[in-house]
């Protein structure tokens, strides 16, 4: 084995890959969330479709996409490797009585379960939007004269219709709660693993991580909830939506 493989198959090396891919995926979440916020624009999906078209066609984005695939791939692969190693480290005879809830946070001990929920969601999510848009081609078409959206998928409509399916909304929200907890631990953990610990900055990183976890997961979860609860099949605000939302929508 060369020093490179040795480094990255060591316990700390694997953790470093977990951390790097995890933090990289965090940046993806930011981009994805900002893009998805276009859903809230009251323009019948024009902005969102422009955004999704850009994401689907821009060569730079398409290249980075492969990075994303690798990021997810390694994050999941290393998680499996580490879990296997860590399970073996305890040995065949575990504790009869173990009260780890008295010495650590639930989230930090259950990253695997949380990650698995997120993975299941991801597969459904990818099938529903990414696969159908990119490969299956069974999404509703936009048509029209706009050179950017010409003949391209009307992803907005696909999203809005999905967000009116109760079980999909439920899965989506559950996954976002998992993501929130995953990030609650994962964000600061990523910095710790890279050795970025400092008496001045670590407390800041910790609270930024908590805020990140809440904002990102709440941000994503707000979308299906918003469409499920307050809009009609075309994504237009329903008449019975709260007055506050009406006025916010009017402002945009």
């Amino acid at each position: 084995m060369s020093w490179i493989t040795k480094t990255f198959t060591s316990s700390i090396g694997r953790k470093i890959i977990m951390s790097l891919t995890g933090l990289f995926l965090c940046t993806f979440l930011v981009v994805h969330l900002i893009g998805n916020l276009q859903l809230f624009k009251h323009d019948g999906g024009a902005a969102f479709n422009t955004y999704s078209h850009f994401m689907g066609t821009n060569p730079i984005i398409r290249t980075i996409e492969w990075g994303l695939v690798l990021g997810f791939g390694f994050h999941i692969y290393e998680a499996l490797m580490l879990t296997r190693r860590n399970k073996a480290a305890r040995g065949s005879q575990g504790y009869v009585s173990n009260h780890s809830e008295q010495n650590s946070e639930w989230t930090s001990r259950n990253m695997g379960i949380l990650g698995t929920i997120i993975l299941i969601f991801l597969l459904v999510h990818l099938y529903n939007f990414f696969w159908r848009a990119r490969f299956a081609g069974d999404l509703p078409r936009m048509g029209g004269a706009d050179p950017l959206t010409r003949d391209y998928d009307n992803l907005y409509l696909a999203v809005v219709s999905s967000f009116h399916i109760w079980w999909y909304v439920l899965l989506y929200v559950a996954a976002q709660i998992s993501l929130g907890y995953h990030l609650w631990h994962g964000f600061r953990s990523g910095f710790q693993t890279l050795g970025l610990n400092h008496r001045k900055y670590t407390p800041i990183i910790k609270y930024v991580g908590y805020a990140f976890a809440v904002v990102v997961s709440a941000g994503f979860a707000s979308m299906p909830l918003y469409f499920f609860l307050f809009t009609n099949a075309d994504g237009e605000l329903a008449a019975n939506a709260p007055a506050l939302l009406q006025s916010v929508a009017a402002a945009f």
């Binding site: 060369s2 020093w3 040795k6 480094t7 060591s10 316990s11 700390i12 090396g13 694997r14 953790k15 470093i16 580490l82 190693r85 860590n86 073996a88 480290a89 305890r90 040995g91 005879q93 575990g94 504790y95 009869v96 009585s97 173990n98 009260h99 780890s100 008295q102 010495n103 650590s104 946070e105 930090s108 001990r109 990253m111 631990h185 600061r188 953990s189 710790q192 693993t193 890279l194 050795g195 970025l196 610990n197 008496r199 670590t202």
Partner: protein, 261 residues
Amino acid sequence: MAGSNPNAKPMNLTLKVWRQPNRQAQGKIVEYQVKDISPDMSFLEMLDVLNEDLLHAGQDPVAFDHDCREGICGSCDLFINGRSHGPEKGTTTCQLHMRKFSDGDTITIEPWRANAFPVNKDLSVDRSAFDRIIQAGGYVSVNTGGAPDGNEIPVPKEIADRAFEAATCIGCGACVAACKNASAMLFVSAKVSQLALLPQGQVERKTRVENMVAQMDKEGFGACTNIGSCAAECPVGISLENIAILNREFLAAKAASNNLA
């Protein structure tokens, strides 16, 4: 006869103790009753009572490791009611007192559980993996006799204090026992950061961390997932900051050392 509190009432307790005759044998939990336990007793003194009872009854006493009984040698190592060294924070088993329990309690007592810590007998485990990790590099290579005057190596007080805090690790293994992953990172990091912080440790800084981590992995300890149980259960309060330092040292060493192996 209670020393501090003449009104302290003696307790009767049920103990569920892991019994295992030797390393190869299958173990199991066995239940015992102990009576008239003074709240002023230490936990190990309570086990002494049990063992005296067992011996009188012609039964094999429970084997457990202990020595100084003042919380510094790191010998004692019991997993009590699901916690390393029991319920009290910052305390070794020998300094845990029975006043933390109540009359009629059932107490489960198990050995440290880790693949790298095989059970010798009952509650005694083999922690020699820790020694082998230190042997892999947890030292400064100076022979006796050649040292310069102590004051020729000034160390800023803040650095000396931080190194000292890392150096207080007693090597008991509570961190491994508490960790969901049976990881030894807190133990390893304490020694790595102590020597990485001090000027004396600079010469071998890179090889030390590379070799110690390699040995740690070889012993079969798990990987750290930053859960924090270790630091929470550490009887001498070794901080998680040390694990970050270890990660940093490892990364820097791997990136910059001339070691191609």
